[in-house]
């Protein structure tokens, strides 16, 4: 009986005190989180700052955030393609390959995904099982095998070898299959009963419905082919076929004056990051969705 009377007068002050404490806690939490977020982004900030520095300055003040003098030398050097850094070639190859691969993946992945989800044909079950087992093969394991097959087919060091194997992506097919299975059948069945053929139903009824999934697939395909490295390492070697990833990797890891030229290296890396960064910030929720729903196995 005494307890309630004891606490009765308290609430007013207690509430305001706890409210104050809560506000402080929130402030502290936000500050701590901001510090962690800053630590996460700091490498990119330093990279950006260093890209505008001169070599001596980058070496003297690696933590300096304000380039002084402000220099565009590394950008100019990259685009003039001097000193064995064939940046324009790398960029051209990366853009070309990423565009073709993205278009191919969106088209072929959705075709196959639709067939596996909807069309009844012999061998469908087996193909689905094979698809899932192919997805489980770790990518790095395939390096030597891919080289062997490309060599065997006589297409080593060609665009064909760099592009064709990437045109279909097992995970992408699976994502599209899952998507088509999740949309109601009625609409396309109605279209078919109305006399539309399978191809026409697919093209003008099914695909327009699949827009959100197609956007996600486009973005993930672009990101994947833009950042692709191991496949290009084992399927091509000449300087003409270097992409941003293989060219940059060779430039950075090769002993071309280790420890120097950091503004140049970081600028090249920065420019290789920018397209994906733009796509990421514009279409972020698709990244989030793709990262999460990537694939649902079993």
């Amino acid at each position: 009986m005494t307890a309630p009377t004891m606490t009765k007068p308290a609430p007013d002050t207690a509430r305001s005190r706890s409210g104050e404490r809560r506000r402080t806690a929130r402030l502290v939490a936000t500050l701590v989180m901001s510090a962690v977020a800053l630590a996460y982004l700091m490498p990119f900030v330093l990279q950006l700052a260093t890209s505008f520095k001169t070599d001596p300055q980058a070496a003297a003040s690696p933590l300096g955030l304000v380039p002084d003098p402000f220099s565009l030398a590394s950008y100019r050097q990259l685009f003039s393609g001097a000193e064995g850094v064939a940046f324009p070639t790398w960029l051209g190859n990366s853009v070309f390959i990423a565009l073709v691969v993205t278009a191919g993946r969106v088209f072929f992945d959705s075709l196959a995904g639709y067939a596996l989800a909807r069309l009844r044909f012999r061998g469908r079950g087996l193909l689905t099982v094979l698809l899932i087992s192919v997805m489980a093969v770790p990518g790095v394991i395939l390096m030597i095998p891919k080289f062997l097959v490309v060599q065997y087919l006589g297409i080593y060091d060609t665009y064909t070898a760099m592009i064709v194997p990437l045109l279909v992506d097992a995970v992408g097919v699976f994502v599209m299959k899952q998507f088509f299975e999740s949309v109601p059948r009625e609409i396309e069945e109605a279209a078919r009963v109305d006399g539309a053929g399978i191809l026409r139903t697919y093209w003008s009824v099914v695909l327009p419905m699949a827009r959100p999934a197609l956007i996600t697939l486009t973005i993930l395909s672009f990101q994947g082919s833009w950042n692709e490295f191991t496949h290009f390492v084992v399927t091509a070697q000449s300087a003409d076929h270097a992409t941003l990833t293989t060219g940059l990797a060779q430039f950075v890891s090769g002993g071309l004056g280790a420890g120097t030229q950091y503004p140049l290296k970081l600028t090249a890396a920065l420019l290789a990051t920018v397209p994906v960064a733009i796509v990421f910030f514009v279409f972020q929720r698709h990244f989030v969705r793709g990262g999460n729903a990537g694939a649902l196995k079993e």
Binding site: L63, R122, L248
Partner: protein, 375 residues
């Protein structure tokens, strides 16, 4: 509306014209079969030619002594049976020493990366998911952004950050620590730590450890822990992957029914109790998933090694994936390179097998939703 009635009339066809209906359906299925195969044929060709066939070919090459010059399928190839595999495990020699070194390096790498990235991702997810936190989207973006960038580009950045007079060592100097020469420091972390408290002298290892060993490596080398150079790769990978895994944890956190949290609160549970008895148990399936994906990914580390160290210093950042590549393309030992690929595959399969087994034990209700990261 017309389409709906069309469906219903054809659907309620009372079967008066059974033969023709059957014929029509079978014809339609025949057409579907044709279209079905037409639709999947690009997938079958590409995945068959560049995924399935290569694996079979590589399995064959792993049984050959092949230098990449001749046609390995002509019959003229030098068939050596399981010699390449023996060279990795049984026969004394440079190949085995290199392979065992790479296994040791990768094992320590896995032991550090998987727990750290999982814990960090979970911590970030819990922090970002806090109801009172403002600007969640900004934080989520900041933590996730490193994951979407090119591994080659961020490895370049880390090379710059960790150079001997670079940003990291400048920061360390501020707090009075003389940073190491990161990329040339082959000392094992275990011996550095024990050396700093005076237990062992890293420069003159005790004979008991240095003179005896197993599988081509001395005990001193086996027990060294990751080298200082390897730590840069470990830090880089934790930084890039934690964002992806954070998103998975976040999705699972948002799946927890609000009512469950509310009832815990009404029962008088404080925040820590809620975390321990409601939130963490609900996260268990995702936790296992994140660990599985971590185990699969960490055994494949290649890009970062290629850019940052090429296996150096003193082979302490050599990984099986990189060894397989360099043996094949630099030393023209394709048979051994292919054999390493299959050993790596076996390791990964065993890891995921164990993981699945544990998962089945703990989570027998069959909620086996597996998610994969975008590559």
């Amino acid at each position: 509306m017309t389409t709906v009635t069309a469906t219903s009339t054809s659907g309620t066809d009372p079967g008066r014209h059974v033969p023709s209906a059957v014929r029509r359906r079978s014809r339609r299925e025949g057409r579907q079969g044709l279209w079905g195969w037409a639709f999947v044929s690009p997938m079958v060709v590409v995945l068959g030619l560049f995924l399935a066939l290569p694996v079979v070919m590589a399995l064959w090459v792993s049984l050959l002594n092949w230098d990449g010059q001749s046609n390995p399928f002509s019959g003229a190839a030098d068939f050596v049976g399981l010699d390449n595999y023996k060279g990795l495990f049984a026969d004394q020699g440079l190949t085995r020493t290199l392979f065992m070194t790479s296994l040791r390096n990768n094992l320590y790498y896995v032991l550090l990366v998987v727990p750290l990235q999982t814990a960090l991702a979970l911590g970030l997810a819990l922090a970002v998911n806090q109801r009172r936190l403002k600007g969640k989207g900004v934080f989520r973006t900041a933590f996730y952004f490193p994951s979407v960038t090119s591994s080659i580009a961020v490895s370049t950045v880390f090379l710059f950050l960790f150079q001997s007079s670079g940003a990291v060592n400048s920061l360390l100097k501020w707090v009075g620590i003389q940073g190491p020469n990161w990329f040339t420091d082959a000392r094992g972390l275990v011996w550095v730590a024990l050396g700093s408290i005076g237990l062992v002298d890293p420069d003159s290892p005790p004979a008991a450890l240095a003179d005896h060993g197993a599988l081509g490596l001395s005990w001193w080398d086996w027990l060294s822990g990751p080298s200082v150079a390897m730590c840069t790769i470990i830090l880089l990978v934790i930084w890039t992957t934690s964002g992806t895994f954070m998103l998975m944890f976040l999705a699972a956190l948002q799946d927890i029914p609000e009512a469950q949290l509310e009832s815990a609160r009404l029962d008088g549970a404080n925040r820590r109790q809620t975390l321990r008895h409601v939130i963490l148990p609900a996260l268990r399936p995702v936790l296992f998933l994140v660990i599985t994906l971590g185990l699969i990914g960490t055994w494949q580390v290649f890009d970062q090694v290629y850019v940052m160290s090429q296996g150096q210093p003193a082979n302490t950042t050599l990984t099986p994936a990189f060894l397989s590549y360099s043996l094949s393309f630099k030393d023209a030992q394709y048979g051994t390179g292919a054999a390493i690929s299959f050993v790596l595959l076996a390791i990964i399969l065993v890891m995921t097998g164990i993981q699945r087994f544990v998962l089945r034990e703990r989570d027998g209700r069959g909620r086996r939703r597996t998610r994969r990261t975008a590559r």
